[in-house]
């Protein structure tokens, strides 16, 4: 049985059918004219050989590609509508079904800053007998040990369904050559949930896949239970197919591994700020990437990856905490559904740099709305602050609790003949008692999870102790053991996959 996630019983949609067809039509127009600028020769050749009009611009070392609608529609027929993401523990697998609004929440994605929280005591200047314990935050570069800790933490967060490394590893002995094997191993060895990541170096792709094959006991088992998947952002918006990420896309789909094909335009700078224009453009970019994948390897599992943001008005950086962000993303979820494809969407990023009220408001705003839209895989949902520049474990623990509440919010109502009969019986029983109190009937519902527990970080009386309690929770979760890769498998990985740093070997003594 895969993870349950939450099956949204009544989805929120912004676009009606006519509007979706208009967006689709506009995307097809964009792909035809102006078309895309392609910096990858293999991709240009593939498009050319399948009927796209390709012209060369030698000066710019790129190709202008005009893609006809018929080509896009034909590949959509071969694109899988259901993608399975496996896991070391198979009960942690995820089934992403483009026809079913079952929502999974995931972390993400490669921040440079790790934000530690400390609890410090402050003394009142006027009255030294008054002391307050407060949270202070401290930034530092993310390291390999932090990624291991993030994975351990993620393993124990009940509502984290899939894992994307939330921190960029910046140790001195991490290079472009060994980064991929170390980041995948750090994740896989510290959690049993699905691990998804982008590739730093295409040269390491086969070694990463070999690592996964060793864990699953062979190539065939890995295809059946793909414990890893990849992400490629093939477009530099607007409409420019990047050489490096496009080549990574091509090589991953040649190997048949699950792949998120994403685009991340910014409304107002690299895409129109208007909702229709933004969505038409990102839809064109994603469909173009999906078309490439299916032309190379028909039927290869790909996921519609939409990460639209809006330009911040003060700095033109990505802005995630604004309503337009939700407009764009909900529309993209609908467009993926329009094609029957599973959607990798975005929610839970705060623009603010530290945990607190602003972070919670900004995060919940999109956590609720994007989940309600029925996106199958929501990334960025845990611990991200400062517009994806920072990962904070305390924030991740808070997000986990809030996402749990969102999942409860979105579950289907249980109203049928048997339920109503049980309620009538309960009301009659209670009315026959002297106190007329329903409290005792809470107990079984509390145990079955139908009734949500009190907010886990509530302090005593009038004190706000949310951050202090969440900090304690992080420490507690990090003390819990995780199921590492078994010793013999671990030994085989270290023997066959070069570049994994010795300090990641948990079985090594000394």
């Amino acid at each position: 049985m895969p993870r349950e996630g939450v099956l949204v019983h009544s989805i929120y949609e912004r676009l009606n059918r006519d509007q979706m067809e208009r967006i689709h039509g506009a995307s097809m127009e964009i792909l035809r004219h102006p078309g895309i600028i392609c910096y990858n020769r293999d991709a240009a050749d593939v498009f050319s050989s399948h009927g796209a009009k390709v012209t060369t611009d030698p000066a710019a070392r790129c190709w202008q590609v005009s893609i006809p609608e018929a080509l896009v529609l034909s590949v959509l027929n071969t694109t899988p509508k259901v993608v399975r993401l496996g896991a070391r523990r198979e009960e942690n697998s995820l089934i992403l079904d483009g026809g079913e609004p079952r929502v999974y929440f995931s972390s993400g994605s490669e921040t440079n800053v790790w934000l530690d929280m400390r609890v410090e005591t402050f003394v009142n200047k006027a009255d030294h007998s008054i002391e307050l314990e407060l949270a202070t935050f401290h930034q530092r570069r993310g390291m390999l040990a932090d990624l291991c800790a993030a994975a351990r933490l993620g393993e124990h967060l009940d509502n984290l369904d899939g894992f994307i490394r939330p921190v960029n590893i910046q140790d001195e002995d991490i290079t472009e050559e060994n980064k991929d094997v170390n980041k995948f191993f750090a994740c896989l060895n510290n959690m049993t949930k699905h691990v998804m990541a982008g590739l730093t170096s295409l040269d390491r792709l086969d070694e990463v896949i070999r690592m996964a094959e060793i864990i699953t006991d062979g190539e065939e088992e890995l295809r059946r239970n793909p414990i890893i998947s990849f992400i490629t952002c093939v477009f530099k918006s607007p409409l420019q197919m990047v050489d490096d990420t496009t080549q990574k896309c091509i090589e991953v789909v040649r190997r048949g591994m699950p792949l998120v094909i994403s685009a991340s335009p910014q409304g107002g700078s690299t895409a129109p700020i208007k909702e229709d224009g933004m969505v038409a453009q990102i839809n064109a970019e994603i469909l173009c990437g999906i078309a490439l994948s299916q032309l190379i390897n028909p039927g290869t599992p790909v996921i519609y990856g939409s990460v639209p943001t809006r330009a911040g008005l003060d700095d033109l950086a990505d802005s995630y905490g604004v309503p337009e962000f939700n407009h764009y993303n909900v529309d993209c979820v609908q467009m993926a559904r329009f094609y029957g494809l599973p959607c990798y969407s975005t929610a839970g990023v705060a623009d603010v740099k530290v945990p607190g009220i602003q972070a919670t408001v900004e995060k919940l705003f999109s956590h609720i709305v994007i989940a309600l839209s029925g996106a199958q895989y929501i990334h960025y949902a845990f611990g991200l602050l400062d517009k994806t520049a920072t990962f904070c474990p305390v924030q991740a623990v808070l997000d986990d609790a809030h996402i749990g509440m969102v999942k409860s919010l979105l579950c289907a109502p249980k109203v049928d003949e048997a339920e109503v009969a049980a309620s009538l019986e309960q009301i009659r029983k209670v009315m026959a008692t002297p106190q007329k109190f329903f409290v005792r009937y809470i107990r079984p519902k509390l145990r079955s999870g139908e009734v949500t527990l009190p907010y886990p970080f509530e302090g005593d009386k009038a004190k706000d102790e949310v951050l202090l309690q969440a900090h304690k929770r992080v420490q507690e979760l990090l003390q819990r053991p995780v199921e590492h890769i078994p010793p013999q498998t671990n030994e085989m990985i270290f023997r066959e996959v070069p570049g994994i740093l010795h300090r990641l070997n948990v079985y090594h003594e000394g």
Binding site: K436, F437, R443
Partner: protein, 228 residues
């Protein structure tokens, strides 16, 4: 055999299972005897009622309290367990009296005149009964005259008054003044509680104690009893 039924009583109090119709935590216990049936069974087997109270009920409530402190249990669990103890005490009362054992004390409970909100008063009633007190509940919207008459007739150790509204809390003062005028004030300790009530207000109107919540109220009742 005796120990077995006592252990069953204890486990059912911990789960707050009143009777055989109670589904239990996992929803699958319908048909199995609950506290009411088990206490009667224990009496039928000739078990000393004092042993039922000490080994079955009191030890169970101690565990319930520990689970609550550890945040494993919530208020509904405490109330359900206390309610089963209250029901058990109703069954045991005549047997205990015959053995010369009296309740921990007698408490009269009422929501004051003009106020129909009785949830708080009901919770305190359940918890007090679960703690071994004999409780007489006068109901909601109870005027000073009726309370005075009941105090005179029932001769309780304590009187608990509840109010939810700022507009009805002054009826507590009126009730205490009526007790004084009737010459009963020194015969009964008065404890008050409810959303708008504070320790300051309790002191201001001459109450003996204030319960911030149901569990606090039970502690205060115990303290007032010891001090009298």
């Amino acid at each position: 055999m005796n120990d077995e039924v006592i252990e069953h009583i204890k486990q059912n109090v911990i789960q707050g299972r009143m009777d055989k119709e109670d589904e239990g935590f996992d929803g699958e216990m319908v048909g199995q005897p609950g506290v009411k049936e088990l206490v009667q069974q224990a009496l039928d087997e000739g078990i000393d009622p004092r042993r039922i109270v000490v080994k079955g009920l009191t030890e169970a409530m101690k565990i319930v309290g520990e689970k609550y402190e550890a945040k494993e249990y919530f208020i509904p669990d405490m109330l359900a367990s206390a309610e089963t103890v209250g029901a058990a005490m109703d069954i045991l009362a005549p047997y205990l009296a015959a053995s010369g054992v009296s309740p921990r004390g007698k408490v009269l409970m009422a929501t004051v005149k003009g106020d129909l909100h009785d949830i708080g008063k009901n919770i305190v009633t359940i918890i007090l009964k679960g703690a071994g007190y004999e409780v007489k509940d006068l109901g909601a919207d109870v005027g000073p005259e009726q309370i005075v008459a009941s105090v005179r007739e029932e001769q309780p150790d304590l009187l608990g008054l509840s109010a939810l509204l700022t507009t009805t809390m002054m009826a507590m003062k009126e009730t205490i003044e009526s007790l004084t005028q009737a010459g009963l004030r020194d015969k009964v300790k008065v404890i008050i509680g409810g959303a708008p009530i504070s320790a300051e207000f309790a002191a201001e109107i001459g109450a003996d104690g204030y319960g911030a919540d149901a569990f606090h109220a039970v502690r205060i009742v115990g303290e007032l009893q010891q001090s009298s």
